[in-house]
Each structure stands twice: as C-alpha cells, then as structure tokens.
Subunit: 432 residues, 2 copies
C-alpha cells in the first residue's frame, strides 16, 4: 500500500486511536517504566504503536506519555519510522492521560493543529503489543452500533471479595464474570462527553473507560470475546513471555523467491521442504518483482526470512534488489531480516570454485546490508548432487546449520518440550 | 538434613499436601496436559512437587493424576528422586480429584496403606511451580487459626459482569476484589467434612475450595497476600515465562570453594568479583568439607554453579569430592550442575604446561561426571599475572568466555533490556 492511502474502516466510519503510555518512572521508584523497556532491542510501546499502525484504516494514533518521556517517545517514533503518530503530554492518572489524548481531536490548546475528530476512537494500552486487526475491527464495529465496546477474556482465577477482617466474604461464580481487556472503542462523542462529565474522584481513582461510558452516558458497552494474546505486560515474567512470543512470530514464515525457471522453482520448493524437519516454516514462493503485489504484501506483512534462489553462481543482483525493497519497507528497522541468497550450480562439472573477486563483491555487499539490519548469507548448491550443499560464502557449514544459524536470533528459545511433543498449549484457560 | 528428619511445622501442627494434577489429555484434545510438559527438560509437575518437598515439615505429598497418567507420574517421581510422594487416581473434575487425594488420609480403600491424617492439609496446583516456603508457612498458620486460608493476589484487569445481551452490566471496583490463588490450607477435618457434604453439582462444576469450606462448614477462610510468582501456568506464554524464571533462578548463585589458604581465598573472592560485570552472581565462599553444614545447605538448596579453587596444578581430588557430594544430593538429576575447577599456579615461573597424562586424567574425569549431569570445566590461572587466564583444559578461552559458556545453559535468555538498564519490573501490578 502506498504511504498515505487508507483502507476502509469497518462500517465506513472514521477511526483514530489513543494509546495511554503515561506511566512515569517516578511511580516505579525512578526506574524506566515498562512501556519503554526493550524486547529484542525495541521498546514495548513501539510494538503497540506498530500494531495500530499496520491497520490502514486508523487515521491518527495518539500516544500519551508523561512530560519527562516526550522526547524519548519522539526518538522512538523517528527511529522505528512510525507514521500517523502524535505525541501528547499525559496527566497524573490513566484517565487524565486518556482525556488529554481525546482533547487533541476537540480542543485547540492541546495540539499544534487540531486533528480531525473521528467518529470512533479506539483506546488501547501501550503494554499490550500483540493486538490483531481482527479484534480491533470487531470492537470498532460494536462501538459504532452500541456506542461503546471492549474486549473481554475469561477469568483465569476465581475472584473473591474479602470482609473487613481479611477473611473471605464471598467468591464470585467464575462463569458469570469476565476480565475487561483492551482494545476498547467508543463513539467519540460519547467517551468525550463522559470524560467531560467525569468527577475528579473518577479521574483520579478509576481505570475503566467502559465504566465511565455507562456511568455518565448510560451506554452499556458491547463486550467482545478477545484472544489470549491481548494480555497486558504487567510482571517481569510477562516481559520474558512477550519476548518469546515475538521471537516465535518472527521465525515462522519464510518467503522463497525464484525467477520462475523450473529448476529454480524446484529448488525453491525442495529447500524449505527438506528443512521443515529442522525448523517450523511456512514457505511462500513468489517471483522477484517490485510490481508483484504478493511480494509487496509479504514484505509489508513483516516477513523477516527470505530465500532468494538464482542460477548465477555469484551474482548478487537479485539479493540487491530484494535488499532495496526491504529497506524501503522499513521492515529491517524493527528486527533483523535474514536473506539467504542461494546460487544454484546446474553444470555437469562437479568441481568449481568461486573467484576471489566474486567473493569480495559478495562479502562487501553483505557488510553493507548488515548496516541496514539485513543479514545476507550465501549458499552455493550443486544441483546434480542436491541436497548436498557444497559451499557457503565465508561460512563452511551445511545448509541446515546455516539455516538454523541465520534464524537463531529470530528463533524462540526452545521451551524444551521433548516431553510434550504436540502438547496442547491451547489458548484456553486450564482448570482441573 | 538427613532423609527422614523433619523440621517443625509452623505452629507445631502436622501438615501434608495434596496436589491436583488430574487434567487429562482428552480434555485438551488428546495432547499432553500442561503439568507434564517439560521446562528445561523436566516436567512442570516435578517443579511443583519439588517446591513442596523442599519444605521439610510437610509429611506427605499426594499427587492426584488421571488414571492414564499414573505410570507417567511414577516414572517422574523415580527419575527426579522425589520423596514422600504418593500418587493417587483422580476423578473427572478438579474437586473430585482433590477429594480423592484427601481420602488417602481417611479411607482405607484409596491407598495400599492409610497415611497418617494431618491436622492441616495444603492444597496446591501442579501448574504453579514457584511457591516458596514463606507463603506456604503463612497459609498453614492462618489455616490452623481460622480453619481455612488461601493466597490472594491483586486483580490485574477490571472484572466485569455481562448482561444477557452480551453488554456490560456493571464493573467491579477493582480494589475491593482479589484473585484467589494457591496454595490454600485447611484444617483437615473441615475440608474433608466439606467434601463429604458437597453436592454433585458443586463437585462437578465448582473449582474453589475456599468456597466449599464456607458453604458447607461456615468457615470464612483467612486471605493471605501472596507473591507474584504464585501465578498459574495457563497459556503458552506462561510456559515461556516459567522457563525463563527457572533459568533466571539457576544462574544467580555460585558457590566458591577454597581450602582456606589465604591466596586461594583471595582468588576465590577475586574471580567472581571480576566476573560480576559479565554475569549477575551471588558468590558464597566456603571450605570443601562433607561435614560443613553451610556447604551441605548450599547443595541441598539447589545451587547449580560451583567454583572449586586449589593450588595444585592438575589435581582433581577436590573436584572429585565435590562431584561425589553433588551426586549424592540428587541435585544434578534436576538440572546440569556446572563445576569449574580452578587451579592456581603461584610459582614465579611464568611458563608452564600441563603434562599429557594429567590432561588425560582430567578429561576422563570430566567425561565421567558429564554422564551424571555434572559439567566440569577447568581453568589454570597464573596468579602472578592474575587476572590473566592462560590455560583452560581442552578449551582455549579466557575466563569470562568459559564462565559465560559454562553458565549459558543455565542463564536466561537476555531479555534485551539495553533500553531499560535498571528498569523496575516490580512485582506489582502496573496501572496507568
């Protein structure tokens, strides 16, 4: 998609988003707040912004941060190439921060220029990095119809009320209650009205936007069942978990690019097939073309693993073209992209070598692209002896070793599931 | 502590524990249930059993598993050397399984021999591996006084009730409610009475033991604030998190053993000090002696990293003694133990080498201990040139490389916190 173009929002409404990210270091004892902690080198808030940014029909993304973090946030936006983002100064509580975020659509004083008021506004947390378009879309649709909507999840633990003496008063029937999660969405006029009516007490001590819509605008929010990945990064263990999920996601897809020649296509198919026993991959084979919409979609969908197959022994032209396309997409800004350039030798002659000049060119190319966070590896394959991989530029490994080595940084730490091959980590709560 | 000896329980009561681990693969679609999934190669349930087993004043640990997993559970108990554990066949729901677990203390038919009925029984989950003695002790004390007690945690999300139309009915004031967690504890007679009175409906659809004690025995459980590490492994992300926490715990402590000579003690102090910039360690220096209670406590407290400093160039006697002690402790059964044998050369002569014979002896020793899950590494240090590490048996690394290499498998995946050095992953919920 060209920059600036917008897909249609669900229901044809105009939609913007507010991300409260205002927790200050002070409240955590002077240390960095969670939303600025790095996962795979990238701050948590950047993942949440990116999740919103990938949804083309969201017009503006307002990130609300505490005054001392405004510069940090602006640096993050620049570094990771975020678009459509406005940074707004937060208040001293979550509700006051969200209110400030909403004001940029309604009051001149809170922004250098008044942003266009959306019909529906999404509210999402900076510490929930894995939100998908599907749930955002459902919540927006429900908000359009009901005035307010929010994602919910089943309770993991029974909820209990304690009496004044610290003893159990009663426990809630788990099935009747839900955990209120994010994203939430509102008709802008409703949530803005609610915040305007809101008492100081609610602004200071409340946390639940759905509650404000109900209390001040008599709007009963529609509750939408969300997925397990909406969870909020709260504890240190959530940081570990989030990082593992990110790595998991990165390593699952590989795009194989061939020029359409039959032999090449065959290798393009065989290589990932033979490696599937070593690493879980979803291989997609496409030709290399700037105008191929499938390839463009794959790149903009943040694929981080590419195999480029050609039949020229050392030519790097195709790898160079792909590297250029990747660079333009900004994808490598987020995480390293692995590009394995496979050179297929289909000659009958079994002995060959790569000239020093070619090798120098290739190494220079790899060094240059590495600066752009694109890691190029080369494989030379003797097709007649396939799957014998006989030569790797600069690396004397077999193909599987290279493959695993290339993907190692994108691959999740193996959770050691030798015991439970095929175990069901269902996205459902597990009781009994 | 000698096998069989017991510390005194809080309040002097007799205490046993029931761990429901009865979730069957069938309920998860034929796959392995979570409690049998491996973290660092060891099933989750084994961590929970070990957490109970380490508390010396718990007499019996009843693990309740579904019929098809009884043999699996027995294999786990044997493999990991668990003591004081009785495996009991579970029922079709959580409550029925717990009831079966309690029956082994009260009814002959459920065990080959009737176990001695405890005054207080702990109920804990097999999928909560990180429970510490402190919270178990508090819950037991509170149960002795109040008849029932359970650990609680603040709610992470707002809890809401939905109306019949799927819209928000009301949201609960978060501060007034808590999540009910484990462990829980009860006077045995109270919880057993509650289960005997319990309707089939409650046995089939309930999950909360505190609720049964209240409903059937009018016992209002005392609620005890628990720590964040009590969380239940529920989703796949929890598996990632739990494994990271385990690795984190393993790598934090190193025990340095010296024979008491001043020079050795100095190196024993300097080595971890100089490495602290590379890896976070808590070093404890003790002499090597089978009768030293501090060393015994460290080994039984599951330290996995040892540095043994001596001034004999190649003697492995001390490393051998320590390896024997470790083997007897069963610690290496759970996770690999790293043993770095540091040989200090205090001679004025700067050039030396290790004879082939010595090297062969050392390598043979390392191979043998590796079979017992004790990984021996050797370092030869020229003290006059300290901290120059000049020779490593079989490995040509500097000390830091060896150190990091040795601990790599016990070390957590770095969560990439370059951004948030010193960030506060407080064990508190983070709102705003």
């Amino acid at each position: 998609m060209e920059p600036g173009s917008r897909g249609a929002a669900p229901g044809g409404v105009s939609v913007s988003a507010v991300l409260p990210a205002g927790g200050s270091g002070e409240r955590l004892g002077g240390a960095t707040p969670k939303q600025f902690c790095a996962l795979q080198g990238r701050p948590l808030v950047s993942y949440a912004v990116r999740a919103m940014e990938r949804i083309s029909w969201i017009s503006d993304i307002i990130v609300v941060v505490s005054p001392e973090n405004i510069e940090t946030m602006k640096t993050i936006i620049e570094k990771y190439g975020h678009k459509r983002v406005t940074v707004v100064e937060g208040g001293i509580t979550r509700h006051r921060s969200i209110f400030n975020g909403l004001k940029v659509f309604a009051e001149n004083e809170f922004s250098s220029h008044l942003l266009q008021k959306p019909e529906v506004v999404i509210i999402h947390d900076a510490v929930r990095p894995f939100v998908e378009e599907d749930i955002v879309s459902k919540v927006v649709m429900a908000a359009k119809e009901h005035g307010a909507a929010g994602a919910i999840r089943p309770l993991v633990s029974t909820v209990i009320a304690s009496a004044a003496d610290g003893c159990l008063d009663h426990s809630l029937e788990r099935a009747r209650y839900r955990a209120s999660e994010m994203p939430q969405a509102f008709l802008f006029d409703i949530i803005y009205e609610a915040y305007q009516q809101c008492t100081d007490y609610d602004l200071d001590y409340g946390t639940e936007c759905l509650h404000l819509a109900l209390k001040y605008c008599k709007t009963n929010a529609k509750l939408v069942e969300g997925t397990a990945d909406l969870w909020k990064v709260t504890y240190k263990r959530d940081l570990y978990a989030a990082e593992s999920v990110i790595k998991d996601n990165l390593s699952q897809q590989v795009c194989v690019i061939t020029n359409g020649k039959e032999t090449l296509a065959q290798v393009g198919f065989l290589l990932p097939e033979s490696l599937k026993s070593q690493i879980k991959v979803e291989a997609i084979t496409v030709p290399l073309s700037k105008n191929d919409s499938r390839l463009q979609n794959i790149i903009s969908g943040q694929c981080y693993n590419f195999v480029c197959v050609n039949d020229k022994r050392c030519a790097i032209q195709e790898a160079q073209e792909l590297a250029d396309m990747l660079e333009k997409s900004n994808t490598p800004l987020l995480c390293p992209v692995v590009l394995i350039s496979v050179h297929l030798d289909i000659s009958e002659n079994n002995s060959f070598s790569i000239g020093m000049e070619d090798l120098t060119t290739i190494k220079k190319f790899a060094r240059e692209t590495k600066k752009k966070n694109i890691l190029v590896y080369g494989l030379l394959i003797q097709y007649k002896k396939f799957p014998l991989i006989s030569y790797v530029f600069g690396y004397w490994y077999g193909a599987e070793v290279v493959w695993n080595g290339c993907l190692a940084q994108a691959k999740p730490q193996n959770p050691g599931c030798s015991w439970c091959r095929g175990c069901a980590w269902e996205e459902t709560s597990f009781s009994q």
